[in-house]
């Protein structure tokens, strides 16, 4: 599903590489935590998978796409097979919950009848049935993140990238979001989640890839966040 082969990324404005000789493979259906302190290269890692950046060295493969050789006009196809969730939710404030989710389908040209059918389905999946007509500011943080997850998942992507999805949420709400991500993972969707949250990583006991200063320093199949951190 994801394969990085000896990937390095150097930004023009920085002397130190953001990623250095990183090789990681993630299979279909896996649930992987990507951990590490700020500046360790987590964001660069995710941006490479979305082809927001291209590696300075090495190869990146996502869902049978060779991202290092990919033509620009093919990038939308790649992104349609990846769902994204962020710490700050990134909802459109002037659209309702249902409209926010529908937006993701509208802009890739899905027919109206499909949208009418799948939006209520995915809202039910994330537990927001009955809140379709709310505006984002009328929702709690946890509910807003559910909308974002619904939007990321509504097109049934092969893979879900989550960049600190619980970073703005209290522990209980975070736990609910993790249950939702697990449920999505059980549908066969690969989930890659970058996080700082010790307790979540420790309680889930999933695969952990740790980055530090742009290098992979740990890759445990059933890991914890780490002792003494």
């Amino acid at each position: 599903m994801i394969r990085l082969e000896q990937v390095s990324k150097v930004y023009k404005t920085s002397t130190r590489p953001a990623l250095e000789n990183v090789s990681v493979q993630v299979d279909k259906g896996e649930f992987v935590f990507l951990i590490g302190p700020s500046g360790s290269g987590k964001s660069t890692f995710l941006r490479l998978l979305l082809r927001e950046e291209v590696p300075s060295k090495g190869r990146v493969y996502v869902a049978n796409f060779d991202l290092t050789r990919m033509a620009r006009r093919r990038v939308p196809r790649l992104r349609q097979s990846i769902g994204c969730v962020f710490q700050d939710f990134r909802l459109l404030a002037n659209k309702t919950v249902a409209e926010n989710v529908a937006f993701a389908l509208e802009v890739i040209g899905k027919p109206r009848h499909t949208i009418k059918k799948v939006v209520p389905e995915v809202l039910e999946l994330v537990g927001l049935e009955g809140k379709a007509e709310r505006m984002p500011h009328e929702l709690s943080g946890g509910e807003q993140q559910r909308v974002a997850i619904a939007r990321a998942f509504v097109n049934r992507p092969l893979m879900l990238l989550a960049d600190e999805p619980t970073g703005n949420l209290d522990p209980d709400t975070s736990q609910d979001i993790m249950l939702l991500l697990e449920r999505i993972n059980r549908t066969g969707t690969t989930v890659l989640m970058a996080t700082h949250d010790h307790s979540i990583v420790d309680s889930m006991r999933r695969r952990v890839v740790e980055l530090d200063l742009g290098r992979v320093v740990r890759d445990d199949a059933r890991g914890v966040y780490g002792v003494g951190r």
């Binding site: 006009r73 939308p76 459109l92 040209g109």
Partner: protein, 300 residues
Amino acid sequence: MRASFVFSEVVTGLRRNITMTIAMIITTAISLLLLGGGLLVVRMIDNTKELYQDKVEVNIYLTNDVSASDKDCKADPCRGLRSQLESDPAVERVEFENRDQAYERFKRIFEAQPELVKLARPEALPSSFNVRLKDPDRPEVIIQTYKGKAGVDSIGDQSQFLDRFFSALNGVRNATFFIAGVMAVAALLLISNTVQLSAFTRRTEVGIMRLVGATRWYTQLPFLLEAVVTGIIGALVAIAMLVGAKLAFLDDVLAQPIKSGVVKSVEAGDLAFVSPILLLIAIGVSAFTGYVTLRLYVRT
């Protein structure tokens, strides 16, 4: 789906930047108005030239003694000149006008100023040949051949006056084109600026669109159409102003010269000719500017 989505994006975008949109429409309209005015002057020059084309004559004025003694052009040098002119391949038609006929014509022309007619004497007016040329643009052929011949006093070339008249019109045309050009630069910068502003105010939407895999056309078409729509509105405003200008004062101001056949009026047909040009230019320029701006300033 696609069309209605893009259309609603365009409408929200234009309403959100309403002040910029209005500024854009006004500058576009004024620059197109001037361009249209310039094009109308060009049309007017062409039409007026046509009007004069078959009227322009070269007048060969005869000397005073010939004018006095030979009323019917029966004797040399008048008779010789006439037959030479009639057989000249560059000449289409020759008319002889003697002193009395010239005086009659003078009286007719200055009917309105009797004191001028009173002052004039037939003896002050020369007989003349009014020569119509096959090629009205080449009066110098006749001037060279007949200047200084016996009996010829001077040769008047009407096209010289016309040249002066047309060069004044050309000046008006060039001035409007120049100002139109300067305004067009302002309009271009405004279009570019508005597209950037529009893209900036909607960066969240655009960011999400890129993230969920919308194609570049899908993310950028609304901005491009915004530019084109304002361009079209600007062109329509310019056309309306041209029509208004014709009806409100152009017809009145030029009424006198038009009636006396000095210039051709601006017809509805001229406006119909200029309007689609303005519209096409507006669409082309705004689409091009929008496209270049998106290419240069907006991340895809």
